[in-house]
Symmetry: C2
């Protein structure tokens, strides 16, 4: 039975998509069967893997509004062992369409239950919001990875996210745990980055991944080629960091 992990943080630009694409790729390279769900209408995870949202026959939108299933929406990617369910801009409208359904928070959980046994890991890339689509992701997930940029505003938003996770755990998804806090865009030369790291470790201790994703230009160049960093420049710090993260995740979930 595959583990479902949401990658979420309502703060924008903290590395949710970069983590989703590169962790999914690294897990696949380590011979895990992986499905990545792009649950952000910006569809950055789709384009970052070279998939054009306009070209797929059905996306996560059709799955959520009941016009298609996850099985019918899955596409292959440039990475062996990694499948994707793409996003689409129509997803913006899905929140309104789901709003009046009685089971509106559990739609994604129900859709994923059909494919869960086909994969070792199912990752869900979330948008920078705590709206109904992200609530669906947190309700479907076994755990959540929280990317935290080594910046002040990123630290501020964590308590709000933890509050939301607590509410979802008590009302919708009792199994939901925090998989870990992941420090992203870390530059050890900056005092602020070190302060944020210390503060995170001080507050959350072992919930903070040992692996830290350093700032590395290759991570932001790779998506413009439609490739994960591992296929764009496998020796880059960004690639190495995400492989370390994948190994840490696998060891933790033995």
């Amino acid at each position: 039975m595959g583990k479902i992990i949401a990658i979420a943080n309502q703060k924008g630009g903290v590395g949710k998509t970069t983590t989703s694409i590169n962790l999914a790729t690294s897990l696949a390279v380590l011979e895990k069967k992986v499905l990545l769900i792009d649950a952000d209408p910006q569809a950055n995870a789709s384009s970052g893997l070279g998939i054009d949202p306009q070209q797929v026959k059905s996306s996560i939108y059709e799955c959520l509004v009941g016009q298609s299933s996850i099985q019918d929406s899955v596409v292959g990617t440039c990475v062996d062992g990694l499948n994707l369910v793409a996003s689409h801009i129509d997803l913006v409208g899905a929140e309104l369409e789901l709003m009046n359904m009685r089971t509106r928070e559990r739609v994604l959980a129900q859709a994923l239950s059909q494919v869960r046994d086909d994969y070792d890991y199912i990752l869900i890339d979330c948008s920078p919001s705590l709206g109904l689509i992200t609530v669906n992701a947190l309700t479907a997930a076994d755990s959540v990875i929280i990317p935290v940029q080594a910046e002040y505003f990123a630290l501020e938003g964590i308590s709000k996210l933890l509050n939301t996770i607590k509410i979802i755990k008590s009302k919708l998804n009792p199994k939901l745990e925090i998989e870990g806090f992941l420090l992203t865009m870390y530059d050890s030369r900056l005092r602020l980055a070190n302060q944020i790291y210390e503060e995170l470790k001080g507050h959350f201790g072992s919930l903070v991944f040992n692996t830290v994703i350093q700032r590395n230009i290759r991570l932001s160049e790779a998506p413009s080629h439609g490739l994960p960093a591992l296929l764009y420049d496998c020796e880059s710090r960004g690639s190495v960091n995400h492989m370390e993260l994948a190994k840490e995740l696998i060891t933790k979930n033995r």
Copy 2:
């Protein structure tokens, strides 16, 4: 009559709040009367100016749901000539509360019409979304500043934002113009950043501000002290860039 400018881009972490706080401060230092509206439930513009959202009597939320007015919600800041209407986490619920109102897109425009003549500039910091609150900001605004991070994903989202602006201009706010595209977190040593700048200039020509905001650690340190960069380190590149931007904006709007 004051000019209302929305600072918007649905891509997360591109510098909307950093631009809002530091442009508002620079305009005030240049002796303009400025009001900053924090329209993001994350309330980063509020905390970045040292205002605790829990302490204010009423926020933008109360103004939108009709429990208070802009005049009653305005607070002073550490900057002479700069007032703020703070945000609050309750704003997350406002989209649902406004949804059934007939004039749901024009609520902010109506609220701001009462104070418009008291200021030279009213800036609105938007959240990373194109939901109803951001639509309200674009409907109230005379123009919009679009911060664009010198990164691939940031470029991808622009066409969606321009589409939304076109729809709002045709259906809700015929006066809405693009004030300009502002390149943010620019590091001239990076090839990718230069490519993005060339591409932006190629597509949008004179709509791109001459002023470029360079990556500068002082801009990300200042908010943790509740200060705009100009008060935290007035000689830093980040401060100088935002003063240049304010001067360019004033000259453009003579």
